[in-house]
Structure formats: structure tokens, C-alpha cells
Symmetry: C2
Subunit: 205 residues, 2 copies
């Protein structure tokens, strides 16, 4: 599909989707080189070779493009975490792997691509939908592991489940949220093991 | 003691101490009005009515003055926390009070005096001695409570004490360190109770 075709104006559903994907891919590359905060939609349009007006047909703002990029990054982290968790059979080990893999995956994003990390920081600061939805999905995964552990008899059942989920989420949050993660490097090597051990002690029946 | 006397150059031990206290008091007031980062030693000297050279006789840098102010603030937080802890008799309740009071005292500093909080932020970012010493004293207090709880039979004794201290310190850290605290306001009301409950569950014998 050439840019001329795209610019012809005859856009329909599936084509819309392709153009959006194309814009997000180009924007990801551009932001990862020049940073998110400093780039305007005009800069982006020039770099991709689209008109600014054309980009605005698909995304209402720079933030909307950033949200898509952010959602992709966070989905990748989530997929890594789910893969690590699913490798373990027993809920206690699943919880350990969740702590370990979420810190590793978040750190990978931070160290491999600082410019994209900047987008995650904006997402966290301005509470973008993509970031909030991700936090919700992480809490759901946590809840699933806790429920499985209660059923298997590995975890205590006295504490209300939502209270346990929330407390453990609070323990994990400094290593998920990019605003907090960037101040936690002193303890990053030992924190996942030490915190998951503490949490597992708190869950013993 | 007049400023003329102070400027006469005949400073000895106890007088040195008085002048230092006087400079720190004046600097605290000045920084709390104009901010730490933006103020230079020259600004400060002018505001206090001392020469810059005279201030440098007592403090080798602006940071050295900031360290003294920071140490005072952190000592105040520590005193509040120790007072709250000492009101409780049993180690589990002492631990709850430690969590509650440390968050409250840190928040008070943050909300009452944003300009002084800026000094605490610099201290945490640049790892000033005053901040590191404070963190060490907080870990000691935690260890004392844990040891008392192990002796009273309230807390389990299987986990190595230093591991327990470190893990609980990591749970508490986002609410102590000003760089992290400023990103934790969403959960600040519930966090102390939820986290101290989780920690107490993890400590049950």
C-alpha cells in the first residue's frame, strides 16, 4: 500500500486499521530517536511523510499516538509476565515468578529504550487510560494466582481477597510504575526475591 | 551576640556552634521562602547580612548547609516516629504505629513546607550523608521492634533477622524516600494500614 493511496482519502475500516498501525510504528521509531516530549505532531508528520491533517484523521492528538505506543509496550511486559507465570505449576512459585518477571520486563523497557520509557513516564504522570488499564490487568493476574493458591490450600483464606490483592499490589507498585521504578535501582537486584518471600510468608495458611 | 562580634574573627568552639546554628536557622527561613535549588550562597549571605566568605568559614558549601537543615527535618520525623512507637506496649502494635507515623510525619513535611521538601528531595537524589544516616536509623528502629517481637513470641523466628528487616524496609521505603513519596499519594490513606497488616501476617509465628 503506497502513501499516495493512503492519502487519496478513500479510507475504510480495515485500511484505517493499517494506517493506524503504520503511524504508530513510524511514531515509535521517531519517538525512540528524538523523544516523546520534544516531538510535535508536525515533526512526526514530516518524518513519516504524511500531512499533519492526515495524521489527525486517525489520532486526535499526540497523546493518542503515545497511548497506542504505551499500550503496545505494556502489553509486551504483560505477555512476558504471563509467560513466566504460566511456566510454574504451583501458586507460590507463580507469585515468585510474577515478582521477578515484572521487575525484569519493566527494567528492560527502561534500560533498552530510554526514549520510549519517557512515554511510559508521561502515561503514569498523566494517568493515561493505557497505564490505568495495565495496572488493572496486573491486579487481575495477581488475584487469579491468589485465588488458585487459596483453592490449592497453599495460601491462607482468612483475609478478604480484595484486601490481600491490594496490599500485595502496593508492595509491587514501586517496581511497576515507571515514576517509582527510576528511583529504586539501589535495591532492584534483591527486591523481587526479598519482597516475594515476605509476601509468601504473609500468605501462609 | 552581635553580627559585628561574629565578624571579628575571634571565633572559638562554642561560638562556632552558635554561629552555625544561626546560619542554619536563617538559611532554613530563606530556603523555605525562595527554595533551595535556586538560592546561591551569595543570596543567602546577603539575606542574613553576613559576607559570603564568613559563611564559608562555617560551611564548605551550600550543600553542607542543606545537609544540616535536612538532618534537622529528618531528626524531627524520627522523633515523631519514636514517640508514636513508644506509646504502644506490644511489638505488633509498635510496628503498626511505626508505619502510620512515618507516613504521616513524611507527608507533613511534604505538605507544610514544600520548599524544605525540595531539600529532602536533593538529599535523596544525591545521597547526602544526612539522608543515608536517617535511613540507617529507621532500619535500626525496625530491627529493635522485630527483635522485641521475636523475644515476646509475637513474631516468627525462622527467617534470618536481617532478611526480615530488609524486606520490611523495602515495603516501607516508598513512603519514606521523598522521591518515591511524591508519586504515592493515590494510595497514601490506605497504604500504612494495608501494608502493616500484610507485614504482620508475614511475621506470624
Amino acid at each position: 500500500m503506497s502513501k499516495t493511496e493512503l492519502n487519496s482519502g478513500s479510507v475504510r475500516g480495515p485500511v484505517d486499521h493499517d494506517v493506524r498501525v503504520q503511524i504508530v510504528a513510524a511514531a515509535t521509531e521517531h519517538f525512540s530517536l528524538y523523544g516523546y516530549e520534544k516531538t510535535t505532531v508536525s515533526d512526526l508528520a514530516k518524518a513519516i511523510g504524511f500531512s499533519k491533517a492526515y495524521i489527525y484523521k486517525f489520532f486526535e492528538s499526540k497523546q493518542a499516538i503515545g497511548e497506542s505506543i504505551c499500550a503496545n509496550c505494556l502489553s509486551q511486559i504483560e505477555a512476558d509476565v504471563r509467560a513466566a507465570v504460566s511456566e510454574a505449576e504451583h501458586p507460590p512459585e507463580q507469585l515468585r515468578r510474577m515478582f521477578k518477571s515484572i521487575v525484569e520486563a519493566s527494567l528492560r523497557l527502561f534500560s533498552q529504550d530510554r526514549k520510549l520509557y519517557e512515554i511510559a513516564t508521561s502515561a503514569a504522570t498523566e494517568r493515561w487510560q493505557a497505564a490505568l488499564a495495565y495496572e488493572g490487568r496486573i491486579r487481575e493476574l495477581l488475584q487469579d494466582i491468589l485465588q488458585a493458591g487459596r483453592q490449592s490450600g497453599d495460601f491462607e483464606r482468612k483475609t478478604p481477597l480484595d484486601e490481600t490483592v491490594m496490599a500485595i499490589y502496593l508492595v509491587l507498585r514501586p517496581y511497576i510504575n515507571p515514576l517509582l521504578l527510576q528511583h529504586g535501582f539501589d535495591y532492584i537486584d534483591e527486591a523481587p526475591a526479598q519482597l516475594s518471600s515476605l509476601v509468601l510468608r504473609s500468605l501462609s495458611p
